[in-house]
């Protein structure tokens, strides 16, 4: 990471972001109390994820997390599922490269019992060998099934090329060979690595008071070892510096799924909010430049969007469209033109003023439920955001100048360093698509069902 990339040092944020408990070896706790509904939402988040999966063991962290609900001390997998449903609760889990989150929604009257159940699933999973075998075979079926989803195929290959050689380019769910090779010992070691008290942040939203939430949080982690895992830092991804095309060949496609993009930015970058504003103009709303040119003027694609998400490090800036096969090449050419014009000519003062009004006023919907509010605070902790990123978001948006927005675009967005991922029928449109992207340094054609 270069010097100009960092404007807010994450080390300053620690004290301000936690409501309770020291940051050393104890979970950090966040609470948004609301009596509006008899509902409590709990998120137990771990500051580590699939990036720590050993080489050739892709999918390990996700399998370990799924195994948590497949049996714990005194309860079989079936008994666990029966108990969750009978309590009027839902428990789910997400695994990303850098974060694991267990999430529960529960009717208030069952809160205590759900907390005890979550504590048990985290601290005392049985990782039964028979259940593990079942899950691995189930995962194999899901990986095969995912080939039916064209958007998911486009995304998988897009990320593989944008983040080539980086943790963000790996498959969090694993491949069939990597998943089938996992053992009970792998899963136990993975659990021991992640589930340590110092690795955890807990958020409560809804019908629970702050003092009670603190007590429940202690119960959630009481049986976990009081340690922090060895940090497994994720490097900042590097740009590859060339145009690359991956064509995912699938028969009988009347439509294509197209993603274009490269490594984006992170809220720690001094120009992130400026780029966020510029991206909003380019492809962030229903009246954006992309949407008008591609959908409104030509009717080529039902949707046309640009996104600038973030993780612990910079994630991918991406443009997404899904035109009919007959329009795919022309649509890609148009997207490249739009991208070039945005980069070279920038946005106008009028557009900037519009984007500011949109983002500032719609901010009300980023914070209209206790769950959204508490997750903003949790995100600061999990993704090493500047401490005031959400609290001062509106001020930061208002402060961006036209020069800053256009300079951020020129610095972060390139029409040369670009990955183009297309799902379609190669025999019908492959050549036209490749011709629509001049200066390609690399072209890959992969079968949709290739592992």
């Amino acid at each position: 990471m270069s010097e100009d990339d960092v404007s807010h040092a994450p080390s300053h944020v620690e004290e301000a972001k936690a409501n309770h408990g020291p940051a050393n070896g104890e979970p950090r706790i966040f609470v948004e109390d609301s009596r509006a509904l008899p509902l409590v939402s709990i998120a137990v988040a771990l500051r580590s994820g699939a990036a720590s999966d050993p080489v050739a063991k892709d999918g390990l962290t996700r399998v370990m997390v799924r195994m948590l609900r497949r049996g714990c001390r005194g309860m079989t997998s079936h008994e666990f599922e029966e108990t969750v449903d009978a309590l009027g609760a839902e428990i789910s889990a997400d695994v990303s490269s850098s974060v694991i989150t267990l999430h529960a929604d529960v009717i208030s009257r069952s809160l205590d019992r759900v907390v005890d159940l979550m504590a048990k699933m985290m601290a005392e999973p049985t990782f039964d060998e028979v259940e593990l075998g079942k899950l691995l075979r189930e995962t194999q079926g899901e990986i095969v099934e995912a080939r039916d989803n064209d958007r998911s195929l486009a995304t998988r290959h897009f990320r593989r090329l944008v983040f080539e050689g980086h943790a963000y380019g790996r498959r969090i769910g694993g491949t069939i060979p990597s998943v089938l090779g996992l053992t009970q010992a792998d899963v136990r070691a993975c659990h021991a690595h992640h589930f340590q008290r110092g690795n955890i942040a807990i958020a409560f939203a809804g019908d629970v008071r702050e003092a009670r939430a603190a007590e429940l949080a202690q119960r959630l982690v009481a049986a976990l070892p009081n340690r922090r895992p060895t940090p497994s830092e994720i490097d900042s991804p590097e740009r590859q510096g060339k145009r690359r095309l991956v064509f995912v060949d699938k028969p009988e496609r009347t439509q294509t799924q197209i993603l274009l993009g490269e490594v984006g930015s992170h809220p720690r970058d001094a120009d992130h909010i400026a780029l966020h504003l510029a991206t909003t103009i380019f492809g962030g709303t229903f009246t954006s430049r992309m949407m008008r040119a591609i959908r409104s003027d030509r009717g080529w694609s039902y949707g046309a969007y640009a996104r600038l998400p973030y993780d612990k490090q910079r994630d991918a800036f991406s443009m997404w469209t899904f035109p009919a096969a007959k329009d795919a090449a022309a649509c890609i050419a148009l997207e490249l033109e739009l991208l070039q014009a945005w980069r070279e000519k920038g946005i106008s003062a009028r557009e900037l003023a519009f984007a500011k009004r949109y983002l500032v006023r719609s901010h009300a919907f980023d914070i209209d439920t206790p769950q959204k509010r508490v997750h903003q605070r949790l995100d600061i902790d999990l993704f090493d955001l500047p401490a005031d990123y959400h609290d001062k978001y509106v001020d930061h948006v208002q402060a961006v100048t036209l020069d800053e927005a256009n300079e951020a675009t020129r610095r972060r967005i390139s029409s040369d360093d670009l990955v183009v991922s297309v799902v379609g029928t190669h025999a019908e449109i492959g050549e036209a698509v490749a011709t629509a992207v001049p200066g390609l340094a690399k072209v890959e054609v992969v079968a949709y069902d290739a592992e």
Partner: protein, 465 residues
């Protein structure tokens, strides 16, 4: 929850205050703009919905929820794909797209731009029985939404270039949701096969040939026929002042004229006398199966127990079919069941995907075995209680935002005529017994009433060479 239901004394005071307010608002107004309060309807134990009607027939449902400084504004029209004719399928949905275009006082593109500039989130949806448009907006901008929605209810401008472009967008939406999506294509085929007479047989998005064939005049006729205040319900939930809101609604909508809504040319579906079965090939890796039994209408007394039976069989990892087919026998990867929430009798749908190497025939045998069990024996008390807990959680989750509340109110009002219907339904779930589930299993889950679509893979890329 967000409000405390008032006592009788408070109710009397509120009624008197409301009567005085309406007296002021209605003074010197033409008949079409006169507002009438039709009642206060409980929405669960702690919320109230106020129902008003304008003289021109517009229904207005309001509920104050000051938990966030936002307002959700929904406009529900009692028109969906069931009101179309063969050869013109998909018109209700295409029209939903066109409603975001030019009006007499706002050029093309300005509707969305103006709302975005105000910080609003807006969208729309069309299904078999209804079409609804929704905006969520910071509370200080609600007047803007009222003005824009009233304008497009009566003053939409339809021009050839926009209609042509929007037809292309909808064709692309169809490719996305149906033509290139195995499950979407199978669902379409399932309804087409299960219904032979009723309008539920065609897809809401329409057949591709019909989408391509629409003219501007088709669209204009549809607009004049169905988009009128007496065919619409406005639902407003959020942080607003009732007095201000009513005055603005009256001003914006009071001038609109009602229309003569045509009598619906309903063709009831004749009873299905024998099973229907189709086999299709798709570019997919595994076998799949879709099954549909003819079921009851959403308002039918049997709909609640049949929905609960569906939950027992298919909802989540603890359900019977998931446990049997996914966990124990390992023949399925994915499994779902759903009972249509339609105004007329719908379907009890099942969709399952086979594990690699397993077949749709194996899925059918296993599913039939699970269905035979619920026909032979009552479900357990624990299963019944579990479903009751699950539906309660789902209802509470749906009420977290102003938009969620508005959708519940609008949906139940449009389909059942009861804005508080979500909670009446929760009461019905709580009253339901194991006998009710046994009764509906035996009544509806019979082989002659069902349609089966089996999907087999075409050759893989390896096999194609």
């Amino acid at each position: 929850m967000t409000q405390t239901v008032p006592t009788t004394k408070e109710n009397d005071r509120a009624s008197q205050k409301r009567a005085e307010l309406l007296g002021q608002l209605n003074a010197n107004q033409p008949p079409g703009a006169r507002l009438e309060h039709e009642g206060s309807i409980p929405l669960g134990p702690a919320m109230l919905v106020q129902r008003y009607r304008l003289g021109n027939g517009l229904t207005l449902l309001t509920s104050i929820d000051a938990s966030a400084p936002v307002v959700s504004y929904h406009t529900w029209f009692a028109v969906g794909s069931r009101h179309e004719k063969l050869g013109k399928t998909g018109l209700a949905h295409l029209f939903e797209h066109l409603m975001f275009n030019e009006t007499e006082n706002h050029p093309a593109g300005s509707f969305d731009r103006t709302l975005e500039e105000a910080g609003a989130e807006s969208n729309a949806a069309t299904w078999v029985d209804w079409t609804f448009y929704h905006e969520s907006i910071p509370k200080d901008r609600v007047g803007l939404v009222i003005e824009l929605e009233a304008e497009r209810m009566a003053k939409l401008v339809l021009r050839e270039p926009q209609v042509t472009s929007e037809k292309e967008v909808v064709a692309n939406e169809r490719r996305y949701r149906v033509d290139d999506d195995v499950e979407g294509a199978v669902s379409e085929l399932l309804y087409k096969t299960a219904y032979t007479a009723h309008a539920y047989s065609w897809p809401t998005i329409g057949w591709m040939a019909d989408i391509e064939g629409f003219t501007t005049e088709d669209c204009a006729l549809f607009y004049r026929t169905y988009y009128a205040p007496n065919n619409a319900t406005v639902v407003v939930v959020g942080d607003f002042k009732e007095k201000d809101l009513l005055a603005k609604i009256q001003k914006a909508y009071g001038r609109l004229e009602s229309a003569e809504i045509p009598v619906e040319d309903v063709k009831p579906e004749p009873p299905q006398a024998e099973a229907r079965r189709l086999r299709v090939k798709k570019p997919t890796a595994t076998d799949k199966i879709a099954i549909a039994y003819h079921g009851p209408a959403f308002g039918d007394v049997d709909h609640v127990p049949l929905t609960m039976l569906c939950e027992v069989l298919f909802s989540g990892r603890s359900s019977r079919a998931h446990r049997a087919l996914v966990q124990d026998e390992e023949i399925a990867t994915e499994l779902r069941g759903w009972v249509s929430t339609f105004r007329d009798p719908g379907l009890f749908e099942i969709y399952a995907t086979a594990r690699p190497g397993k077949t749709s025939a194996e899925l059918l045998v296993a599913l039939d075995r699970e269905i035979a069990k619920v026909i032979a024996e009552p479900v357990t008390l624990a299963e019944l209680d579990k479903v009751k807990a699950k539906v309660e959680l789902a209802l509470v989750q749906s009420l977290e935002t102003a938009g969620g509340k508005a959708e519940q109110i609008g949906f139940y009002h449009t389909v059942l005529g009861d804005p508080g219907g979500a909670f009446s339904r929760l009461d019905a779930y709580r009253r339901t017994t194991r006998s009710d589930l046994l009764r509906v299993a035996r009544r509806y889950l019979t082989n002659e009433r069902r349609t089966i679509i089996e999907v087999h893979p075409e050759a893989s890329s390896d096999e194609r060479g």
